[in-house]
Symmetry: C7
Amino acid sequence: MTKRPLEILDQALNQKPVIVSLKGGREIRGILQGYDVHMNLVLENAEEESNGVIKNQGTLIVRGDNVIYISPSIN
Amino acid sequence: MTKRPLEILDQALNQKPVIVSLKGGREIRGILQGYDVHMNLVLENAEEESNGVIKNQGTLIVRGDNVIYISPSIN
Amino acid sequence: MTKRPLEILDQALNQKPVIVSLKGGREIRGILQGYDVHMNLVLENAEEESNGVIKNQGTLIVRGDNVIYISPSIN
Amino acid sequence: MTKRPLEILDQALNQKPVIVSLKGGREIRGILQGYDVHMNLVLENAEEESNGVIKNQGTLIVRGDNVIYISPSIN
Amino acid sequence: MTKRPLEILDQALNQKPVIVSLKGGREIRGILQGYDVHMNLVLENAEEESNGVIKNQGTLIVRGDNVIYISPSIN
Amino acid sequence: MTKRPLEILDQALNQKPVIVSLKGGREIRGILQGYDVHMNLVLENAEEESNGVIKNQGTLIVRGDNVIYISPSIN
Amino acid sequence: MTKRPLEILDQALNQKPVIVSLKGGREIRGILQGYDVHMNLVLENAEEESNGVIKNQGTLIVRGDNVIYISPSIN
């Protein structure tokens, strides 16, 4: 079974939170509410952990060129 | 409910201030008055906090490639 | 009232000096005499402040990919 | 025998895990389940080793511009 | 009077030397003999100053993506 | 005799190993089995030397934007 | 007399060695045997000087995005 990267994003819409790893070491977690071909993302209930403190960010529009990877599954 | 990133920007136009996180650690807050497909942004009453001092910047045109994320909700 | 980023640039043409913040921390001030879709800019009577000394640069053509933001209003 | 880069990716689909070397020194291993022309990748059962600890990442969508190389063979 | 960035370059052709500020802090001075839409430049009698020593470079083809700004006027 | 860069790559296919110099100082050696217009490369029997130790990498798909230069001749 | 950047490259083909200055401070000298619109270059009898030692590189295909400038004249 073969799947294009954007198909996987499509399946992750409005599911359990995804983890988004950003360039520069930041990591954001949130419910994927939308995306486009540039991997621009809409995250709902987004949270960023920094030095052990979780910051609630609400809705975030992440510009795709900052993304390293997106993990649809929570470990 | 699924939303494209630019739709969210559209809904944020002329609402409460958005927070724009820029590469290099800068963060700007202002009323989103416009945008385009590159995520170039027009911010009104823009403010930048630096070392605890808030600098009032008036209108700003932010070039989209500097943007990490945009948060339409103020926490 | 909604405005595209390039419209704002258009309104700033030949008005009071704009401030252009560049990647790498440089800041240039000058009268905006022209621009294009890449945000390449033409600045007249451009000035750059460095270590408290103002350097008069005359006309400058700034390549758009260096721009972080443009502020049409002088604070 | 000559092979285009994307043909090799195609042959590696759903085979033994591939190793993906990322900019910034990270290395991820997983089963290649999909890709596109930007070298965006879908990795299944992805694992990242960091300081001798293997972190299980589940499914990952890696944005292609982070990739240095992909090795379809495990050494 | 409004002028597109490339018009200014056009007017600077074969006039007095221009100053080209490059990413990484280098600055080159020379007679602009040509350019294209990427801001690739042809400089004649190009000179680069480094640690107070002027190095004569003859003709240079500068790749546009290195350019920060071009100053057609010598101060 | 004039040759386009991609013609030289074409002549180097399945010949003696090429040396690929990558951004960040890495150097990989292998038999060029394929390429595309982005300079994405397929290398067979790829080897990377690091701190005097040669690591055998098997087949590698190198993303073109990491390439500084390719040397078809072994010195 | 006005000349486009690529015209100058065309005139430099198979003439005296050109000097190519690369991002990261490297400098390569060689006979220009080919180029394309991205400023990808083919250099013959390429030489790189490093710490006073000249390394003979034979034929090199340099990816254009690494180029700062090309100097067709030897000083």
